[in-house]
Subunit: 329 residues, 2 copies
């Protein structure tokens, strides 16, 4: 009997550890929000977008399952979305008014409260890797323009000609908008209804949240314009309880400090992160701020609210439930 | 008797209107925080700094008394502090590592929730005027570098050669820091103990709050580095209840989204803006983030907490009480 007890106790103890070890992990991605309608999205393009979202989700989630950090998971997923021509980040980024590309990105480590951001770069193939290098290899949080490029010169990062980011589809969008602009201001703003950006928020086995966002900004944007994506607190934020990445009409998201507002509201009012995110996205709509967010809490609960017809999104929540979706329900 | 009543009522009524009309107004300024010690600050320099703070306070406050908007009051005060060589903004801005100047500024209209920010400009005499133009004359919130300069080209703003911002004192600071850098990293950071920035928060007779911040950043900063001042939510934020301008080691202020954190904490927990500001400044110190903030609530209550030996500051609160101070109490 005594012998049995000796065996039983370690086994229960091991079982207990195993249950404790199964910490929740989760990953949520977005690929931009806006006027995405079934009538204008071809079956082929929809399939291609879903495929790339799924690949980025699967790779990032595998990293979390393997015990990787949330920082590594969001970095991997964002890099893959940047490399896809279907999203407005990295390859496939929109053109600015000057006919070139200016890429912005940010990343935040919610556990350590560290962050890195870059804006206005045009020769770094994966802007998210440069943002992460600012966080990990400089004393700064944000570097912009030529200074950010100069910082990249000292790193082992893939560099490209600015034309690498060109795609025929984005060029047509620029030309269409510039033609509209010539014919009157109202028409010029009408086509800007897709706010492409890619974002990721992850929770790892250590309970650490990380958030990351990467974008080409808005088609036909003024040279030097910075949107919400690289602004810590606006488009990207994470702390120990909450991680958020946003996509939308950046000016509204900056003014409302959207990502931090969601996390602060949840923290101070006792609302869930999901409820806070839904409220803030609804409030944005009321002031004209179109877009959406993805958010995670420290239990791996996912929320993906948006106030536009569609938002490209994908998630694996803490129960392992997979979602890949484009349109509203 | 009837005649007397007829006279008396309008008089009481007028007195009542007068009391209602006396809406609280207030203005608070800072000129940077850091290691400011009596032993190293000459009597002459202290007198000159106090004089310029007082002049900026008096001019901004007069504007509020005359019924001007909080936006106009903070714009005027900041412009005067930018023109003073004693503060690290506009004339007298620090040198970056490349031996040039990169100026950042932001302004926010708390009532309308509008904001404008610029970073990395070097030919605009008063960066706060360019930030305000971004808010009022563009659909954007933030423009950086050459794009911000190009936007300025289309405006009626005073332009200068970058050398206009040079001062002998700042050049000596750069040289001292670069010599220290050559002799070892630890020494290189030791002298960076004054975080000059200028800021203003005002409440006008209509009950509108506005906040503004302008800076040359940190001496010897990496080309392209952006600190908290032009980041809406970090160094500058205002809504209908709360306005904040910060000064300090910007990277910490960005990560903690300081200005928005103060306003959100006050709003959601019922703390006063003053209490929330004091808490956040104390928490910054605990993580190594040196600096301070100025803040106002919608009743004109002023708070000016800092976690460094000194902070240049000046205020007129809603009771008309004037403070001009440098050191801690």
């Amino acid at each position: 009997m005594k012998q049995v007890m000796k065996l039983a106790i370690p086994m229960l103890w091991l079982a207990g550890i195993s249950a404790v070890d199964a910490k929740p992990i989760a990953l949520v991605l977005h690929g931009g929000a806006g006027v995405i309608e079934r009538s204008t999205l071809s079956t082929e393009k929809e399939a291609a977008i879903r495929k790339d979202l799924e690949a980025a989700l699967t790779a990032g989630y595998q990293k979390l399952k393997d015990g990787g950090t949330s920082l590594d998971a969001v970095t991997l997923s964002i890099t893959m979305l940047e490399d896809s021509p279907h999203f407005n980040a990295g390859k496939g980024a929109v053109f600015n008014a000057a006919g070139s590309h200016e890429l912005d990105a940010a990343i935040m480590d919610g556990f350590k409260g560290r962050a890195g951001a870059i804006a206005g770069v045009s020769t770094v193939r994966n802007p998210i890797l440069l943002a992460r290098a600012v966080m990990e290899q400089s004393p700064h949080v944000m570097l912009v323009g030529a200074g950010a490029e100069a910082f990249a010169d000292g790193l082992d990062l893939k560099r490209v000609e600015p034309s690498y980011f060109d795609t025929q589809e984005r060029l047509q969008q620029l030309e269409k908008m510039q033609r509209a602009e010539e014919s009157g201001a109202a028409a010029a703003y009408a086509p800007v209804r897709y706010f492409g950006t890619v974002g990721a928020v992850a929770l790892d086995q250590n309970g650490s949240l990380a958030a990351a966002t990467s974008t080409g900004g808005m088609t036909n944007k003024r040279f030097g314009r910075v949107g919400d994506s690289p602004i810590i607190g606006a488009g990207t934020f994470a702390d120990r309880r909450c991680g958020v990445s946003a996509t939308g009409h950046g000016e509204f998201f900056i003014r409302s400090v959207v990502a931090h507002e969601i996390c602060a509201r949840a923290r101070y009012t006792g609302r869930s992160v999901g409820k806070a995110a839904q409220e803030v996205v609804r409030e944005l709509k009321a002031i004209g701020g179109e877009g959406g967010v993805i958010a995670l809490d420290a239990k791996g609960r996912v929320t993906m609210p948006f106030n536009t017809p569609g938002m490209y999104r994908a998630a694996v929540d803490s129960n392992g439930k997979i979602t890949i979706a484009i349109f509203g329900s």
